[in-house]
């Protein structure tokens, strides 16, 4: 382990001193909020389809429905989001009491963020309607997730879920993005500095060279994470959402274990793939570009799921074949109690890891490192696409 420790220390010092890696830190910090903004604005533009059960016969319930329709809401009784207006809604408003309203949401899966967003949009509209009515409207919620019913606001449910069950895997994923950038840069830095040839003739095992780079990248990523946490904490200090607190939401241990295992394997796969593609590059810039491309490829299924998009046909198949989908697949299967499928998803990721590791070792041992090279010039198209 001695040689690994020496390699690790050197790699970490190298990473921490390289100014170009700052780009790898700063770009996602800008990109992630931007992405969230885009997702949020796109959700507003899509049409809101809900079903309505009106048990009230007064004028205010009709006014509410009219208001919703004027705001672009489409009423369709097949929608998983249902607005229930109880009897006495109008009477309550007339007599100056707070009227009650029920928003029922049926999630097709624990990660059905699309429906969660619908419910959130409906709530916002209802509150806006309430602004024009004297006593404020306080909607209540009923959430149906795979048969179990909770009296929780869907968005609250999701944030609780993210905080409690999914926090660790998500954090791992953020780390993965940084670590794969660092790993890709570290091989390219050796090429740029013309130190790789010497390194490869030292009496040091290839394994120690690779692991030294991977471990150093992991540590680097934890440092990045610490700074991210700090900025996230600063953001959360701004007044934004009220309430919070524990809601008793939990998805059970099994699904979380499978999801965590899946995300961890995906994390390793991202590192290995970034290392692999960076072996073919000549300089740091092209290595980072290629690694960025790898990250996007693995992130697509997660983005699709979190944005609540429906992808079907050949594109849907491609998304599901993407190793980035496997952690979700494992999680959803496990929440449905189908542990065989969940295990298959984890196995699928393991196979990918083995494949890429073998490929990387093969590239290391063959002369490819000495002869093949992709430089920034050849990647100009990619950089242009990114801009």
């Amino acid at each position: 382990m001695g040689e690994l420790w020496i390699m690790f220390k050197k790699e970490l010092a190298d990473i921490l001193r390289d100014r170009r890696l700052l780009a790898a830190i700063i770009v996602p910090i800008i990109l992630i909020p931007l992405l969230f903004g885009v997702l949020q604005s796109s959700s507003r533009s899509s049409s809101l389809v809900i079903s309505v059960v009106n048990e009230d016969s007064g004028e205010y319930s009709r006014a509410l429905i009219e208001f919703l329709e004027e705001s672009g809401v489409v009423i369709d009784n097949g929608s998983p989001v249902r607005l229930v207006i109880p009897a006495g809604f109008s009477d309550a408003i007339k007599s100056g009491r707070s009227p009650s309203l029920l928003i029922e949401t049926e999630l097709s899966s624990v990660l059905d963020f699309k429906t969660v967003r619908l419910a959130g949009a409906l709530k916002a509209l209802v509150l806006r309607f309430g602004e024009g009515v004297f006593p404020s409207i306080r909607p209540e919620f009923r959430l149906d997730v795979g048969g179990s019913v909770l009296s929780v606001e869907p968005s609250r449910y999701v944030s609780a879920l993210l905080r409690s069950a999914l926090a660790v895997p998500l954090v791992l994923f953020v780390i993965g993005v940084y670590a794969s950038q660092a790993v890709a840069a570290s091989v390219a830095m050796e090429k740029e500095g013309k130190t790789l040839e010497t390194l490869l003739t030292l009496p040091v095992s290839r394994r120690s060279i690779i692991l030294g780079k991977i471990f150093a990248s992991v540590v680097f990523s934890f440092l990045v994470l610490a700074s991210l946490t700090l900025s996230a904490w600063a953001v959360s200090m701004l007044p934004k959402t009220s309430g919070g607190g524990p809601t008793g939401v939990s998805v059970g241990v099994g699904p979380v274990v499978f999801f965590s295992a899946g995300v961890f394997l995906l994390f390793l796969l991202m590192l290995l793939t970034s290392l692999l593609v960076s072996l073919f590059t000549l300089d740091v810039r092209s290595a980072l570009s290629l690694a960025g491309l790898v990250e996007v490829l693995y992130l697509i299924p997660l983005l699709v799921a979190f944005a609540g998009l429906d992808v079907s046909g050949a594109a849907g198949l491609l998304v599901k074949a993407d190793p980035g989908y496997a952690p979700l697949w494992a999680f959803l299967s496990a929440t449905n109690g189908d542990y065989l499928r969940a295990a298959a998803a984890v196995l699928y990721l393991l196979l990918w890891n083995g494949l890429v590791l073998r490929l990387a070792v093969w590239v290391f041992e063959s002369g490819v490192l000495m002869t093949k090279s992709i430089d920034a010039g050849k990647l100009r198209w990619l950089i242009r696409v990114k801009i």
Binding site: K194, T195, L200, P203
Partner: protein
């Protein structure tokens, strides 16, 4: 291991996607000898040295270092050699001293030799004085080359593979480096394979030379033998006459 040559190269061929860099070369280096591979740019010198340094696998033929195959026993070979690439750098963020310590640490792990002793020898060979404690990024080309040479020799390899050790250096730096290589080989009994396109340098440095041209070895022998054979005053003349024979004879 008496009788085992330091290097055995037999019918070596290497193709870079259509460009035939080596077209079947063979030579042998005896233990303790300084052997020069000389030839013009593009002759195939660096390719040969990279194969011996376990960086490139050959397409055809065999290469052994002290009896160990460079492909099948690459890890054993790496314990015995140290390689100075033609174009090499040191880690720019380290100091020269830090670089020597880092390298000595790795070799000490692998071979069990004393790291401090290696660093001490490295400091002597590099001869950079107080500048050794500055960052490598601040070094001139000549200083970096000296540091890299010190790194290659301080580990006391059985075989040092040096690709154009003096290329791009001014006259006095080149002279110093040649002198250090020669002294070191004599004192430590280290076998040395050195490549150069500077025939005169090789004449000063090497016990035996092979002339390589277009991926083929056209002559092998001591500088004296070759000069006598071609009735030449120096190796430069030998080269012109020998390669002329290949092309026109």
């Amino acid at each position: 291991m008496p009788g085992k040559p330091a290097v055995l190269v037999k019918s070596l061929e290497k193709d870079y996607g259509g460009i035939k860099a080596l077209k079947g070369i063979s030579f042998e280096i005896r233990e303790g000898e300084i052997f020069g591979l000389i030839g013009p740019n593009g002759a195939g010198k660096s390719t040969t040295l990279k194969i011996l340094a376990t960086l490139l696998p050959p397409d055809w033929g065999r290469a052994e270092v002290f009896g160990h195959d460079v492909v099948k026993e690459a890890e054993k070979v790496r314990m015995l050699i140290s390689y100075l690439p033609e174009e090499a750098g040191a880690y720019r963020n380290m100091t020269g001293h830090g670089y020597l310590r880092f390298m000595a640490g790795l070799y000490s792990q692998a071979t069990g030799k004393d790291a401090d002793e290696m660093v001490e020898l490295g400091i002597k060979i590099a001869g950079l004085g107080a500048r050794l404690h500055n960052r490598v990024a601040t070094y001139s080309k000549g200083m970096t080359r000296k540091l890299l040479l010190a790194r290659a020799l301080m580990v006391r390899p059985r075989l040092a593979i040096l690709d154009e050790p003096t290329s791009g250096l001014d006259v006095s730096s080149a002279y110093e480096i040649r002198k250090r290589i020669k002294e070191f080989s004599r004192e430590e009994g280290v076998s040395v394979l050195v490549s150069s396109h500077n025939m005169l340098e090789v004449e000063f440095l090497c016990d035996r030379v092979a002339i390589i041209e277009g991926g083929r070895i056209v002559e092998t022998g001591t500088p004296g033998e070759l000069k006598a054979k071609y009735e030449a005053e120096n190796l430069e003349e030998v080269f012109v006459k020998a390669s002329g024979r290949v092309f026109h004879g």
